[in-house]
Amino acid sequence: MRKYAKIVIHFGLLIGLIGVWLNQSQKTSGYLFLELAGGTKNFFLSKNFQSINEIPFSLRLDSIRTNQQKGFEPAPIVWLQISSNNQNSVQKLTYNQPLYHQGWQMLLSNLVEPGFPLDYELSSDGQTFSLLHNQHLVLPNYKKIWSYGYDSEMKRINLLIGDRSEWLGIGDTLRFDKSEIVLQSINFALHQGVILLVKDIRLRFIIFVGFGLMLVGLIPVLFTKKKL
């Protein structure tokens, strides 16, 4: 019995660690913008903004309401229509209550009003990049570039590279480390909408099964006086 317990504990630990590794190395996540007047979407922008990934179902923003909790600021509730295999269902999504569907997780990241700067198009050394508002990306020279401010009066954005912070209008150039970054365009939201964080969590269960198994293995050890 003790021998089996020992095997189960260490096997569980191994499974859990493999689960962590798989989830870290195979993770797919990114952003999806849905507008109230928009159609359905079955793809999202990867977290590094370099690729488009597909999801096995379609999402459409049905409606946005607010949830009032006593003593707290109202939180948005988003109703999403999910279409898969010719079946439609409308499901709720709010802060800290993600939506799960077919092994995918959708988190509410941001509520977007008309005129909200959704993303910027930047060019650097002949290459063009997309950068979402209030997000960051890693440039080919491994420098991180952050966007975290928008001045609606001057129509310019604030970019942070290293410890340098610069305001850039459309067509302006930012020079650093022998490189140049030019702000090409800013895309604004036309309608009210939401930005979702989409994650593939199909392998997540392995972690919980592994570590759960490890804990289960500890139970018989409790009832024995002898060492393992």
Partner: protein, 256 residues
């Protein structure tokens, strides 16, 4: 019924139980053990009633504020101490666990001060909340019981020869803390989309767990009494930092 009155009943019962256990140890008059257990039981019932009344007043389980956490901790220590005393009649161990319960309720009542329940942060309104907190606190209570046992055993050869006890206490704690961490991780995954974020409280909870796991491995080869004190002492320090230090230093998202 008044919430404060119930806590006063509990603290008096735990103090009396501790004194009774010390007296039983000194006089070897074992019949007092029943009085000790009865006093502990009355204290536990008082705290249970406190929990129910405060839950009704708050609208949620009272495990969320600075005042409520030490009260719950005292409750967990008392339950684990009483269960351990029912299995093994070590009066001094019971004295120490009773002492910890008295100190914790004392801290809540006289250092932090009674505060009525506030509005619950909507994120805490989850079925995971009660299980995560309760199981973790009972696990902490078991660590305190282990520390009490190891300190007393340092001066008692007969106790220190019984090597299975500290190991089984450590495994009980590992099981409870591990379950608490796992439930917390499931909760985080369900609410934030991340099962682990290296938040200071998470990291220190894992560190406490790792110390106990290291002890269980070392205890396979050596059963020296000072090693038991060392490891339960270290895990208690790590646990106290998890419990209090994070709040005092205002670190991470788990502070309250």
């Amino acid at each position: 019924m008044n919430q404060l009155l119930l806590l006063y009943v509990a603290i008096v019962c735990y103090a009396a139980a501790g004194i009774t256990a010390a007296f039983t140890q000194a006089t070897k008059y074992q019949k007092l053990a029943w009085l000790n257990m009865t006093l502990s039981f009355i204290g536990i019932i008082s705290q249970f009633l406190f929990t129910i009344i405060r839950s009704k007043a708050n609208g949620f389980l009272p495990f969320a504020s600075r005042f409520e956490a030490p009260v719950l901790f005292a409750f967990a220590i008392q339950i684990t101490g009483l269960i351990f005393y029912t299995i093994k009649r070590y009066n001094l161990v019971k004295t120490v666990t009773d002492g910890f319960s008295v100190i914790l309720i004392g801290v809540a009542l006289f250092a932090i001060g009674f505060t009525p329940g506030k509005n619950l942060n909507p994120i805490l309104n989850s079925p995971f909340f009660a299980f995560h907190i309760l199981i973790s606190f009972v696990g902490y209570g078991v660590i305190i019981t282990g520390l009490a046992w190891s300190i007393v055993a340092l001066f008692n050869n007969q106790m220190s020869n019984d090597t299975s006890i500290p190991r089984r206490i450590a495994i009980t704690s590992l099981l409870l803390l591990g379950t608490g961490i796992l439930i917390g991780s499931l909760w985080a995954d369900n609410s934030w989309g991340r099962y682990w974020s290296w938040d200071p409280k998470e990291s220190w909870a894992l560190f406490t767990w790792a110390i106990l796991m290291l002890y269980v491995h070392i205890a396979q080869r050596s059963n020296r009494a000072w090693l038991t004190v060392l490891f339960f002492g270290l895990s208690t320090i790590a646990m106290i930092f998890t419990f209090i230090g994070i709040n005092l230093l205002r670190l991470g998202l788990h502070r309250y």
